[in-house]
Amino acid sequence: MKRYLFIFSLIFTCLIAADTAFGQKGCQPDIVGTWKAAGPDGANPILYRFAPDSTVTVLSPSGPDQSAELREIAKATYTLDNPKAPKSIVFKADKAGGAIAQGTSTMTITGYDDTSITCARPGYESTRWVKVDPYRYFLVLAGRSGTFYDHSGPAFPMLIRMDEGKTEVNAFGIYSSKGIPTFGPIPAETYNDFMKEPLKPSDVMLRLEITGPQYERGLHIVRTWERRLRENTLLYPDVSMDNVLLAKQITETLNQCGERVKLYNLDWGVDDKISDNTKPALIPFLYFKELRRLNESLHVRDEKFHEHGRRTQQSAAR
């Protein structure tokens, strides 16, 4: 009996470990893009540029200096065994280069998350590839109280993408239009108040640096709500409820590929103190306030945020 119990526990543990190694449910890595592989000391970086047409180009700096021009050292075609949850990549190459052997070779994927893939091949140590992304992404959760008659105010998530000196903002939620709560794309004069940290006690703001895939998932949610507004297919008759759902969706998608932020369980359950006896219009503000408290260490302060902006501009200038 004890032996069976032990074997069962072992199988159960292995299953859990496998699940963790291959990311969370709904986590689908996008192999297309440029991935950087480096040795343990960061030396000899090699870049793998995966194209949507199933070709991969292996690049390496032409000199010892890492900023040296990149040269192509190999080219191959690639196939994922299962694009939704890949466990291996099969390469077919005319010549060897990087970790790709000449002919047909298989690399096992032992783990992945939003920005990295860990690969192994027989006879070698496993390698971690990190996605190279020229952009910086942020999610700002912004809220204000005391604007409307019910003491609620504008509350919205804001997605920011920075590149080449350009800042792209997508903000959607509740804002004030001539004093009336309105659900839709947030006007610049409203979201600009939250591009810097607010000083007013009636405001709350949590600014998180996020990954490209987190940004894309968030943007997909925003685009869907834009479509719902356009096609008159909002999910609730009360837009305050739609805004609660939007806030919940966009924050919960952050952890779709591994726990990145500490979430508050906004589910109107017995442990949910925010929505208990609170009008829906006030919930996003209180929810963002609680998330700020839970993720204080992740909040990107103004100096750091603007530094990011400057760094992006500098790298773009190079």
């Binding site: 869907t224 297919t233 999910l235 609730y236 759902l245």
Partner: protein
């Protein structure tokens, strides 16, 4: 006529099932509430949700997904019992729709396989899939509880039946896990209004039955 033949096509016995489609009630919310989303049946036919499936009809709608191992198989087997109890009306003036809430996984072939496996390929019963956006809209419009926990939990919707009669604008809801008597009673609340002659005939038949019971047992057994 074209639409009629489209409907009879779902059931598989075109010759005998001629749907009795009425005019929608003046207060019917129509496509604005139901949406006219393009869905696909288990027979891989395109249908418009309001115009082809709801307009002027009495319908029983439930949400499901092919891989659901919780309450779904029990619901499906109970729905088969409901179908058996109302088989004379099914496909004529009463229709059953099972909508997949995992449309990205459930294509028409998968739904047909599910229906076949559960013995649910029956006249007037259609399994549906579509664009996730449209399914989400339909799910909220028909099954919303205005409670974030239940509205975001897909599985919490698989245990309810929505009964709508667009010709009388009557809506009811019942758990398919309830007794057959309860489920049939709820469905009857949305039935088309009976004529005076129908009501008299039904009352006469009931009285006859009660009289017979009193004669046999000495008391009335029928509820």
């Amino acid at each position: 006529m074209k639409r009629r033949s489209l409907f009879t096509g779902f059931s598989g016995d075109e010759a005998v099932r001629e749907p009795h489609v009425r005019e929608p009630h003046v207060a019917s919310p129509g496509a604005a509430r139901f949406t006219n989303a393009l869905l696909r049946t288990h027979e891989n036919k395109e249908v418009r949700f309001y115009n082809d499936l709801i307009r002027g009809k009495q319908v029983i709608i439930n949400l499901m997904y092919a891989t659901c191992e919780g309450v779904c198989p029990t619901v499906t087997s109970n729905l088969i019992r409901v179908h058996n109890a109302l088989k004379d009306r099914m496909g004529r003036d009463l229709f059953m729709y099972s909508i997949s809430i995992r449309p990205e996984d459930d294509d028409p072939a998968k739904l047909k396989e599910y229906a076949e496996m559960h013995g649910a390929l029956l006249p007037g019963w259609t399994f549906l899939t579509g664009d996730p956006y449209d399914i989400e809209t339909i799910r909220f419009n028909l099954f919303r509880w205005d409670h974030i926990k239940f509205d975001t939990d897909l599985t919490s919707h698989t245990g309810m039946l929505r009964i709508i009669n667009d010709a009388t604008n009557r809506w009811t809801e019942v758990s398919p896990l309830g007794s057959m008597y309860t489920v049939l009673k709820h469905i009857s609340w949305a039935d088309p209004q009976k004529t005076f002659a129908q009501m008299v005939a039904e009352n006469e038949a009931l009285q006859k039955k009660i009289d017979q019971e009193v004669k046999t047992y000495g008391y009335r057994k029928t509820n």
